[in-house]
Amino acid sequence: MQAMHSLRDTVRHPQFRAGARDMASLTLGLAAWGLVTGVAMSKGGLSIPLALLMTFTVFAGSVQLAVIPLMTVGAPMWVIWATAICINLRFVIFSAQWRPYFMHYPLRQRMLLTYISGDLTYVLFMKRFSEPREGEGQVEYFAGATAASWSAWQLSSVLGILLADVIPTHWGLGFAGVLALLGLTYSLVSDRATALAAAVAGAAAVAAFSLPLRLHIVVAIAAAVCVGLMVDGSSGDAGRRARGAAGGGKASPRKVRSEKCAG
């Protein structure tokens, strides 16, 4: 059970199809975004082989979009790498959450799994599996979702790279990606605490937008986590005592409705 299942077993698992199906509703947005990223790489002066190398190795859309203008003007490499690290800080936060699900795999497989997982896989997976459990086909679901997102992203990126001169970007195609994320955001809002956390994150992101290196996203996550903890009534000593008195163990934030604001 420790080793990863064979590829064939994984693909045949019903959860693989479930993951691919959940991702499929998002692939239209993902593909529009990949197309725009591909066009940006070509128009940013990357040769076709280098643009292809970038899409198949870096595999991080928002990083690619952010660093292409820097590469075009020949910015120092360390500046580009630092920019990428900041944009990817959210993945560092995500990796803390992947840990209980993937720690039983060997290091190299763990790194492979997280390398191929983007934002969408993470969000869909965490929405479906609130706890790590064996026998639920969790890694199969992960593989299905990732296979769908990887193919949609790479196909559309390659198309964008090759057809950069004929794809009309003034139509606002890239906005399809934003709409996909919007729908996904709505689907995660389940109660007052999550609605408030989303509103705070959005407002904080706008307020902190002028920060360099897209750090406004990290600020927004921090703000929303604080507000979420306050609203679900279990942060701080008051909340912990209240939960202890009620004999509560690890109630999930979704279930604990704002009994009391501890802040």
Partner: protein, 110 residues
Amino acid sequence: MSHDLYVFITIVGLTVVTVLTRSFFLIPEREVALPEWVKRGLRYAPLAALAAVVVPEVVMTQGQFIATWQDARLYAVAAGSAYFFWRGSILGTIVSGMAVLIPLKLVMGW
């Protein structure tokens, strides 16, 4: 250094960044002791990251809060949101939003 070599080395570095940031907390073998409240708080991270990306993309232009109602994105988001709360479909959110956005952009020039 030729520009192509510069780009090549930069891309290799960026790949390392992707691998290391995505696997960061999965690298240590030993238990990473995260306080309970951090674990609970992290459940809000995916939602927050999404909202932090989406909201500025809708209400800001070139880093400024938009000052006009003649912006196709606002109506696209209204249409997409309405569809989502009606049917709960993400695909429908994308399609209805784009169906409003593209004509407004091409015909009205918003």
